[in-house]
Symmetry: C2
């Protein structure tokens, strides 16, 4: 075994890999968010199943709204999981008889993940729970997962620390004459050797994310189909985002936004690099980005409106004379920050019309970025934990100035 | 620009990157599969949009069933696409008025991707097309995409050739004392340097796929939640599949199943490697796998029932005394082959109860594999084009015997 990686083999067959206390905290959050909108929640999305069980399986987690009742795990694959609450099934149509055999009443209303499960998948479950009123589990789970438990925060700190180590060695990965994608490939390798799990979960029907993006020069301003802060043409029109094979030119900024998933929980961090002294305009934009991050970290606390933090960022960009380059130039991203955790786009969202209000335990990536025509993408991104004491704890701690690649 | 990568920049803003003839072929396939089940197809799944346009965007492709009418592209992002059939929108509710302004009648029935778009996403479109009868575009697109055009076949051959080059250098990436994940990381890097796009699209609510898997020793027999041929515990219970940090031991097989997406179209190939002479049992299982691939390539032609090919494979495994190890040991995969293309799990499926019948233009990954307790995973996988002349053309051409890592 490589000691860099978790040893989860001793517990391989245990259905739930969380402690009873930890799972109870999470179930409590789900039930509080559910309120009385349904008598049960049925989850099949991998991110939600992982949240409840600490592992991914193919099947369904059935959570009675009644806190006196335990969840039941209906497992299709793998076939070796053990626990008294495990029901091995081949298809969801077996669920009602199994519930009845356990003395559990069939729910009169059921919350399903309408935002992430396919129409066919939801319709099939509706027939399984024939006659039950339908509620939406997607906002329930989004709300529950937005506030991380102390244990989840520890996993995020671990991801942030490993992520930071990778960023610190980036200058050693660079060689003169490299293209954006060549540098990115070396960063991907360094991430994987540090223990990065590779996969990055992302919510939304039309979102896709590989390991992250390296942008340099004009490519940074190519609009992309994805709802990310920055674009880029990508290598191929089948995946049109990020590096496109552009040469890294001396004195031009290179933005590295390669994500960090080392624990099932991911951190977001962006830093800029330069082979040779960058132009004063580039430095100024990076300083503005740092100042915005610092101001948001100072202003954000439990109770702060997310939209106020967006307004703060936009105001600072305007005052710096950088408004037209803020969050892109040819096209502008509509947010300056977003929750991160099991997925890369969680709540809260720092955007002009966001109704989110910060809570202790939120984990937020803040990414005030600029695209300067003729130079490229500039700015930083950090991930912060919103603490009960009012502080925003930074968990992505690589140096924030433009790092020399020499 | 790195010459390894496509140059799609000259055509960056063109809405449709396919030639008119190529797009007409694909639209013809979609309309033939649709028949008279709906007056229009509305696509938003990235894989389907890429099929119709040769590029991914965020929005909707509206395809009238009437072949005299052209598709309309409703684009949310990116904001720079040009073409007379492009309608920039912010939300799908704008679609009906735009159709009317173009003199197109609102459809009385509409086919949506019920198998891949979320329940919320489908319901929203149902309201947009208020009163229209609902049909399912998922089987339509699956059927259309299962038969590749000559141009798609060329992209697959290109992916196969680059994929093969990566496999040929694998022995040079190995160092004694490596773990499975360490070797995998070097193969990932080699793939990326060869032009691999990283992302692998996969259909299904609960499927996830990073770049592929390297399996050695007992880990190969750990059941996983995913519907792949082989399992593996993975590095973390959040992504429980594949390499788990096991040391690569002398004389034990190392199965490499790292996917090849170099063009938007992907090939599947698996080969086994060994540091030192493998045991006779391991050799025998690999020879059986090769023999099954050869037999399927000989038997498969337009008109062959997919299930007959599965039966052929299973019979050969039984006759070799390897039935109990076929497609896993602790748990068995339920298929021996599957279509590949834009996604890794397309039609046809070679499985016991498959109703698929081979057609000229199908592209099929055939992967008869074994898990031998005490040794690990053994076997090969090839991708074949089913040709009109009755031949199965192999497009993954690395040597098929167990390759020495010395």
């Amino acid at each position: 075994m490589n000691p860099l990686f978790h040893d989860h083999h001793s517990s391989e067959a245990r259905m739930v890999l969380l402690t009873a206390d930890e799972q109870a905290l999470r179930l409590g959050r789900i039930r509080a968010a559910l309120g009385d909108t349904a008598e049960a929640v049925v989850l099949r999305d991998n991110a939600d199943i992982y949240y409840v069980c600490g592992r991914v399986f193919s099947g369904y987690v059935y959570i009675p709204a009644d806190a006196a009742l335990l969840p039941v795990y209906f497992v299709r694959r793998p076939n070796h999981l053990l626990g008294e609450d495990v029901e091995a099934i081949r298809k969801p149509e077996e669920i009602p008889a199994r519930l009845e055999a356990r003395g559990l009443p069939l729910p009169k209303s059921v919350a399903l993940e309408l935002g992430s499960v396919s129409y066919d998948g939801v319709e099939r479950l509706r027939h399984v729970f024939e006659g039950a009123a339908l509620a939406n589990a997607t906002p329930v789970m989004r709300k529950a997962r937005a506030v991380k438990t102390a244990f989840e925060q520890e996993l995020l700190r671990t991801s942030g620390a490993k992520h930071t180590r990778v960023y610190e060695i980036i200058p050693r990965l660079y060689r003169e004459g490299m293209t954006d994608i060549e540098l990115q490939i070396e960063i991907e390798r360094a991430s994987r050797l540090q223990g990065c799990l590779g996969q990055f979960r992302v919510a939304g029907d039309d979102m896709e994310l590989f390991m992250g993006n390296v942008l340099t020069g004009d490519n940074a301003d190519t609009p992309s189909p994805y709802d990310f802060a920055m674009g880029g043409a990508g290598l191929d029109p089948s995946i049109p985002v990020g590096a496109n094979g552009s040469l890294i030119e001396p004195h031009k900024p290179v933005m590295v936004d390669v994500n960090g998933n080392y624990t099932g929980y991911m951190t977001d961090m962006t830093r800029c690099y330069s082979d040779g002294e960058p132009d004063a305009r580039v430095r100024k934009a990076n300083e503005c980005s740092r100042a915005i991050c610092a101001a948001i970290a100072e202003a954000g606390r439990p109770g702060t409106e997310a939209k106020a933090l967006y307004d703060l960022a936009e105001t600072m960009a305007r005052e710096a004379g950088l408004k037209e380059y803020f969050m892109g130039c040819r096209s502008h991203a509509g947010f300056v920050g977003h929750g991160v955790g099991i997925e890369v786009n969680e709540a809260p969202v720092l955007a002009p019309r966001s109704r989110d209000v910060l809570e202790a335990g939120n984990v937020i990536a803040v990414e005030p970025k600029f695209v300067l025509p003729g130079y490229g993408a500039v700015g930083i991104e950090n991930t912060y934990i919103v603490r009960a004491d009012g502080a925003m704890e930074r968990i992505t701690c690589a140096p924030e100035d433009i790092v020399s690649l020499k």
